[in-house]
């Protein structure tokens, strides 16, 4: 699972969808793999407005990345190639292969295996 996907998902439990403490899900025992991909600045510029920056800072911190700036790069900051490259590396090239994602609201755990997260729920959480 890429970091961008982690920023798009929260807990599958319906009651958690509206709870601020459910997002972002927290990584535990995460095993990372870096994968080199074509640099796609156009994509980063397009999706950056959809990224929840606070949540991304939490995730980056949990995965052991250096601290991200306090506010989301906007406007002229996006003309800086290094800024875009750093974001590309974090959002697209960083993959969590194994580990768990835990909801801060209901404490439910989602397992990540071979890069694939499982968001299915047992019947008492549906």
């Amino acid at each position: 699972m890429k970091v961008i996907t982690a920023n798009f998902v929260t807990c599958s439990v319906k009651e958690c969808k509206t709870s601020p403490s459910a997002f972002p899900l927290h990584f535990h025992d995460a095993e990372l793999e870096m994968q080199e991909l074509d640099f796609q600045p156009e994509f980063i510029r397009n999706v950056l407005p959809r990224i929840d920056w606070e949540a991304l800072r939490v995730t980056a911190n949990e995965l052991g990345f250096p601290s991200l700036p306090e506010s989301k790069p906007e406007g002229e900051a996006l003309d800086d190639e290094q800024t875009l490259k750093d974001l590309h590396r974090l959002l697209l090239e960083t993959q969590v292969m194994e580990g768990r994602l835990i909801c801060g609201n209901c404490s439910h755990e989602y397992v990540l295996k071979e890069g694939i997260a499982n968001f299915l729920l047992p019947s008492h959480l549906v």
């Binding site: 961008i4 991909l37 994509f43 959809r50 755990e109 968001f119």
Partner: protein, 447 residues
């Protein structure tokens, strides 16, 4: 300026909607000047475009067309055609002097002998082209296009076939379409497929309807073997897919390490940089947060003939209380499979529309396939939502059923669409797949 798009002779009702979608996508103004909407058979579609550059842009992304030419003239017979060619282009003939050129002749529902072809081509000699004839890759190419009354139309209208075409056109060739991609993505040559994989041609068309393009995120919530992901990523979009059954996208356990999964297909086509993720989830309990995250949603929900439609929950609605086994909650133990229940046909469509409204950016697109039995063929009610505009509905017929591709646009806040003609069917009451799914019941009755 007028141009002639030579459409592919298949998937007729998808062709003009695809051209319109591509025009939106590449940002050119397209006006359909003439198209045989009545029988939907003729490959000839005359359009108005700003210039050759716009024509090139349009055709470069179109799957259901062969090529585009600048229209030099048209008529119901050759005398009319020649008069029209002279009127439209005589002041430009000198511009094409000394350029190597060729003429080709193409007939729809009719053909000519070789001698007659030569005679027809020679009849254009008044254009006075001075360049040498070059048959292979000529820089300047003209296409004479004829349209006859075809057999289906002749029998439907009770008219007899005629030996002369009813319409003739002359076009100056501009560019070929993107049809080559169909061969590249042919399922026969794809590493990982299943019986329900959508064929390359319709996957690419669906991706066009969803306006897949570089910089965008597209998502398939019923991803299966990932045909739509691959097609959308071919056009440069980054794609995300999920399925309630992870075996569909990551392959069977016994075939592990054999490259039988969706990601392997991205590797095969050299588009791995466009692969975002696949994950296991159920649309009725989606983990995607409620925000405008997606540029497009592209899907063919499993309606329950080959693949039963299931969602999380128990058949009888009773909760199975968690138990602890060897100190671990049963649902955290390896190999745990959550209970699933059959789900209704109409319900999932409504869920997809609601999800699209929550998740698409303004003007983002939803493309959704839906099967119908032939008794629904005439008056087909389309599922609608006030925040979605129905852009197009195209249909592909089979012997005893049909399937439709519905394309919607997420309206920006403050705009609503009229949904009074929308589908209002409710699911039948019931628990089993057959009870819930009228389509499955009707189709299985034929099998």
């Amino acid at each position: 300026m007028e141009y002639m798009v030579r459409l592919a002779q298949c998937h007729e009702t998808f062709r003009v909607p695809e051209l319109q979608a591509v025009a939106t996508l590449v940002g050119v103004d397209l006006e359909i000047v003439s198209y045989d909407e009545y029988s939907n058979q003729s490959p000839y579609c005359i359009v108005k475009l700003e210039n050759d550059e716009a024509a090139r842009k349009l055709i470069s992304r179109t799957i259901l067309a062969k090529d585009i030419s600048e229209l030099w003239g048209q008529g119901t017979n050759y005398d009319e055609l020649h008069a029209d060619v002279k009127k439209r282009t005589s002041h430009r003939w000198a511009d094409y002097n000394d350029i190597p050129f060729a003429f080709a002749l193409y007939g729809f529902s009719g053909k000519r002998t070789q001698e007659k072809r030569v005679e027809i081509i020679k009849s254009f000699s008044y254009t006075g082209l001075t360049g040498p004839v070059q048959l292979k890759n000529p820089p300047l190419q003209f296409i004479v296009m004829e349209e006859y009354i075809g057999d289906p139309e002749a029998s439907a209208l009770g008219v007899s076939r005629i030996t002369e075409p009813r319409k003739v056109f002359l076009g100056r060739f501009i560019a070929n379409s993107a049809r080559d991609a169909i061969d590249k993505y042919d399922l026969k040559k794809r590493q990982y497929i299943s019986t329900t994989s959508m064929d390359a041609e319709l996957s690419l068309v669906t991706a066009n309807m969803a306006l897949a393009a570089p910089g965008k995120v597209l998502y398939d919530p019923f991803v299966g073997t990932g045909s739509f992901m691959v097609a959308a990523s071919h056009f440069g979009a980054l794609t995300l897919g999920s399925d309630i059954d992870p075996r569909s996208f990551r392959g069977k356990d016994e075939e592990k390490g054999m490259g039988k999964n969706v990601q392997a297909n991205f590797q095969q086509y050299g588009i791995e940089s466009k692969f975002l993720d696949t994950f296991t989830s159920d649309l009725t309990n989606t983990p995607l947060r409620n925000a405008q995250l997606l540029d497009g949603i592209i899907c063919d929900p499993p309606y329950g003939v080959r693949e039963g439609l299931r969602v999380l929950g128990t058949r009888d609605g009773k909760v199975i209380e968690p138990v602890v086994i060897d100190g671990v909650l049963n649902y955290y133990r390896p190999g745990y499979i959550p209970p699933k229940r059959p789900y209704g046909f109409e319900a999932i469509q409504r869920d997809v529309l609601d999800f699209a409204v929550r998740s698409l950016v303004p003007n983002g697109r939803l493309t959704m396939w839906m099967p119908t039995t032939n008794d629904e063929a005439k008056e087909f009610p389309v599922p609608m939502h006030p925040n979605l505009e129905v852009i197009a509905v195209s249909v592909q017929y089979f012997s005893n059923w049909a399937r439709r591709l519905m394309t919607y646009r997420r309206l920006p806040e403050g705009e609503v669409s009229d949904i009074s003609k929308g589908r209002s069917n409710a699911d039948q009451r019931g628990i089993t797949a057959d009870e819930l799914n009228g389509f499955r019941r009707k189709v299985c009755a034929y099998l």
